[in-house]
């Protein structure tokens, strides 16, 4: 009889050792994880600074196969370059900082609340962010609510330049908790 349970290597080829390493890794993530609902209290404020290195920007863009040269402050063969965009040197993709919000709103000093799903965002972009900038991502938990028997946590976000204070980005976002 064929099992209908999925296997670790269903979607990519793996040897036995890769399967075991994967299971060990997932178990380690799961060990101390709380639900996000339990981790967050309305009014919680968290803030972290992120240096938007050229390599970080490339990793982000390659993950979504966005090869716009405006984002290139690093090129194979030449390595670090100033880059070129309509604003001068290279800039970061418009929604990049939104992706890093989760590393702030999910208190990084605690085990990550795996099983959480991002469900929506309302984002405002005020100015292009140069590659190489250091941004401060500030999050505030503004609501926890239940909708159709599902538990949601809502945050407000601001992203500013650490050096100049320039406001780059604001966002309101919802996450569905386990």
């Amino acid at each position: 009889m064929t099992s209908t349970r999925p296997a670790t290597d269903d979607l990519r080829p793996m040897t036995e050792i890769q399967v075991q390493q994967t299971r060990d890794f997932v178990d380690s993530l799961n060990e101390k994880s709380q639900t996000y609902w339990d981790m967050v209290t309305v009014g919680d404020e968290l803030s972290r600074d992120l240096h938007l290195t050229p390599e970080l920007v490339i990793l982000y863009a390659d993950g979504v196969e966005d090869y716009n040269p405006w984002y290139e402050g690093w090129l194979m063969n030449r390595w670090h370059v100033e880059g070129e965009s309509p604003f001068g040197p290279a800039i970061v993709p418009p929604m990049l900082v939104s992706h890093f919000v989760l590393s702030v709103q999910f208190d990084h000093t605690k085990p990550f609340a795996i099983g959480t799903i991002h469900t929506s965002h309302e984002s405002q972009l005020f100015a292009p962010i140069p590659v190489g900038a250091t941004v401060r991502i500030h999050t505030k938990a503004i609501d926890k609510f239940v909708k159709r028997e599902r538990r949601y946590v809502r945050h407000e976000v601001t992203v500013t330049d650490v050096e100049t204070g320039t406001l780059y980005f604001t966002e309101t976002r919802d996450n569905l908790s386990r």
């Binding site: 799961n30 993950g63 309509p86 929604m95 929506s120």
Partner: protein, 149 residues
């Protein structure tokens, strides 16, 4: 659609003050590749995004992309059409109405729904969405951007 020699979008985009309401943006098409979904910068912190076993334990049919990947696809479409204008004073709202499963192919879409005079130019409002190849809607939303303002 207008493109440039080095693959960059046109600096000013292709949506101009003369672009009418009803104009359809040309989307981008991407495959939800498990290797990208589970890369360190994207989904590795959460096995829902790359591990079939954990995904099944949490009630999912397969690992799901982070919604932010769909947002990035839609943003790429918007940069192709608004060029530099998308980086200054724009708005982007997305709701992930269904999960994007590993190996699905996603296409983004957009239609100009409103065009409001602002300054010397216009603020455009575009309905955006992303579907799989079966036409199932995955992400819905809208963006706003200024042209010639």
């Amino acid at each position: 659609m207008t493109t440039t020699r080095n693959g960059a979008p046109p600096v000013e985009g292709v949506i101009t003050r003369d672009t009418p309401v009803g104009y359809e943006l040309v989307g981008v098409k991407k495959k939800a590749a498990i290797q990208l979904m589970g890369s360190r910068l994207w989904g590795r912190f959460n096995p829902n995004h790359w591990d079939p076993v954990y995904a099944a334990e949490t009630g999912l049919d397969a690992p799901i992309q982070t919604g932010e990947m769909s947002t990035a696809y839609i943003a790429e479409m918007c940069v192709n059409h608004f060029g530099r204008n998308f980086f200054v004073g724009s708005q982007m709202n997305c709701k992930y109405v269904a999960s994007t499963l590993a190996n699905e192919v996603i296409t983004t879409y957009g239609v100009v729904r409103e065009k409001t005079p602002k300054g010397g130019g216009f603020r455009f409002k575009v309905e955006v969405w992303a579907d799989n190849d079966d036409g199932q809607r995955k992400t819905v939303g809208w963006v706003e951007a200024d042209v010639d303002v």
